[in-house]
């Protein structure tokens, strides 16, 4: 059976035709996970927790709903959830030793909505610890291997979700993106990954890293699948005060719209120094495909984009130092042995529970927010953030979408950048500005360089997810990069 080579849309049609049941489909993916994912057996380690009993119960319920005529469009389709989303009764770790014992007492809103749509959760995917990283190497549960070359990283922080879908150990997955954590791993693993506008999807129950930047989104094989999954995830939630009450359009309805007259902005800053020549050539080839579909291009200027990485490494650590203060060894999570007093309990529980990169960012953030330094760092970063947003506002007066590379290079070797945090941070040089401005951004497959996937990034104005999905879908109708599967997992 080759059910794993099918997209969500194709699997949904198969379920509807009764070609197979949700139970058969779920077992197929659980079998593949058992075969390909086991770290001890040299597998790719894309899941932290596999939940076969929960999955088969959901699949049985989905099959019963279909028999009763009450199935929805996605009922019975399997899905992997990033281990940043709280799942009631299931271990939820954020890939940290701090939460190794944490069984969530409630569901994230994203999980509630996926469950309500009848999606079947296969398990919880590996990630960088607390979503801090661009290679999935900071996970307490070990590195994830890129299915395209298992000596290389899958990207991060949603590296487990990306690797799981790339190896077809799930037909789709959820991710979160604070500085590129959906788009960069999607690029490195040949997936379609969408970070929606800030406020589009509820953050309730999504373990917080940097609250003004974090946003969940779908990681799928195609733009059509991303539309299907976004439809389930998007929408206002009163439990998240930053969720915006903006109507959710029918994302699938406009996928096939014409691109005639589409104005594509090409930021000169995205095509300069630092971009590999082969990636640049593939992006240019993709632009020509879009021109054939009726699009025109215009050069745009994002003069402050060079400041996005420095601004991010003030704002994100500042917010993380505040958010992660909740991990105190008292109410849940890791607690040190034999604390001699309360301060010792806090300090040792946190030093033992957090990995090195998380501790580093907490300290940077603590410093940036401390008395005497707040204006020079945090306030200045917030002002630069506005400059970056204003650059986008000016660019979108000239164009409908912005196009560029997602990442400066293809998947790098495991361990290659672990000793150099700055080199790792610069992996997100093309994605971070989008988070700072709160805009939607998307990565789609654009070809291969030396056998490794290259991603193309699309950025749009607020609430333009439907337009991004439309552009991506039309591109995917005339290309087949997105249908390529790594040979070892075909």
């Amino acid at each position: 059976m080759s059910l794993h080579t099918l997209t969500l849309a194709e699997l949904a049609a198969g379920l509807e035709r009764r070609d197979f049941s949700s139970t058969e489909l779920t077992r197929h993916f659980l079998d593949r996970i058992a075969r390909f994912d086991d770290k001890a057996a040299g597998g790719i380690n894309s899941y932290i927790t596999v939940t076969p009993e929960r999955a088969l119960a959901q699949a049985a319920a989905a099959d019963a709903a279909r028999a009763a005529g009450t199935a929805g469009p996605l009922t019975g389709l399997p899905l992997a959830q990033k281990d940043i989303f709280c799942t009631e009764g299931v271990k939820t770790t954020c890939a940290s030793k701090m939460l190794d014992s944490f069984i969530s007492p409630y569901n994230a809103e994203v999980v509630t909505r996926c469950d309500a749509a009848g999606l079947v959760m296969l398990g919880k995917t590996n990630m960088d610890e607390f979503a801090m990283g661009s290679s999935n190497e900071t996970s307490f549960y070990g590195v994830v291997k890129n299915p395209w070359d298992t000596t290389r990283v899958p990207g991060g922080s949603s590296g487990g979700s990306a690797a799981a879908v790339a190896a077809r150990l799930a037909p789709a997955a959820t991710g979160t993106d604070t500085g590129g954590s959906i788009r960069q791993p999607a690029a490195l693993c040949n997936l379609t990954g969408l970070k929606p506008s800030y406020g589009r999807i509820s953050r309730w129950g999504m373990i917080a890293f940097a609250s003004s930047l974090d946003q969940a989104g779908p990681m799928t094989q195609t733009a059509e699948d991303a539309a299907l999954l976004l439809q389930v995830m998007a929408g206002h939630d009163a439990k998240d005060s930053t969720s915006i009450a903006q109507p959710v359009p029918d994302y699938r309805a406009t996928l096939g719209d014409s691109l005639e007259g589409l104005r594509i902005g090409l930021p000169k800053q995205f095509f300069g120094e630092g971009l590999s020549a082969e990636t640049g050539a593939l992006i240019q080839a993709a632009i020509r495909e879009l021109e054939k579909l009726g699009a025109t291009t215009v050069e745009v200027d994002l003069p402050n984009s060079g400041l996005s990485v420095p601004a991010y490494y003030v704002i994100a650590p500042a917010e993380c130092s505040s958010n992660l203060s909740r991990f105190d060894g008292v109410r849940f999570g890791h607690r040190c042995e034999n604390p001699k007093d309360l301060e010792d309990l806090y300090k040792r529980s946190r030093a033992e529970g957090f990995g090195e990169e998380v501790r580093r960012r907490i300290m940077i953030g603590t410093y940036a927010l401390s008395a005497g330094y707040y204006d020079a760092y945090y306030l200045q970063a917030q002002k630069v953030r506005r400059l970056i947003k204003q650059d986008f506002d000016a660019a979108f007066a000239q164009c409908d979408v912005i196009l560029g590379p997602t990442a400066p290079e293809t998947a790098f070797a495991l361990g290659a950048k672990q000793a150099d945090p700055i080199a790792m941070y610069l992996q997100d040089i093309y994605t971070i500005a989008t988070n700072l401005a709160g805009l939607p951004g998307m990565s789609i497959p654009a070809g291969f360089s030396g056998g490794l996937p290259v991603g193309l990034q699309l950025i749009g104005p607020y609430w333009s997810e439907a337009r991004l999905l439309n552009v991506a879908h039309r591109y995917q109708q005339v290309t087949d990069w997105h249908r390529q599967i790594p040979a070892a997992f075909a």
Partner: protein, 95 residues
Amino acid sequence: MALTAEQVARIAHLARLQLPADEQARVTDSLNNILGLIDQLQAADTRGVAPMAHPVDATQALRADVVSESDHRDDYQRIAPAVQDGCYLVPRVVE
């Protein structure tokens, strides 16, 4: 603005992170490396620019002042490291 080992020890204390003496030098170097990157911000001309706290400058939503939560104390304390009689246990604070 390079940090000294003493400043880093102070930051670790503020963040309630134990930092062993033999790790101080390495952590100080690593933080200074990142501050070098961040210091690029100082060159930006931000005179007259309002700081941006929220991507879409939304204001906080208001809701009716009614009870919306039910009691989950037992569920929440089931996952705590140490509880007794509905209270979280910590080392003695008052001698």
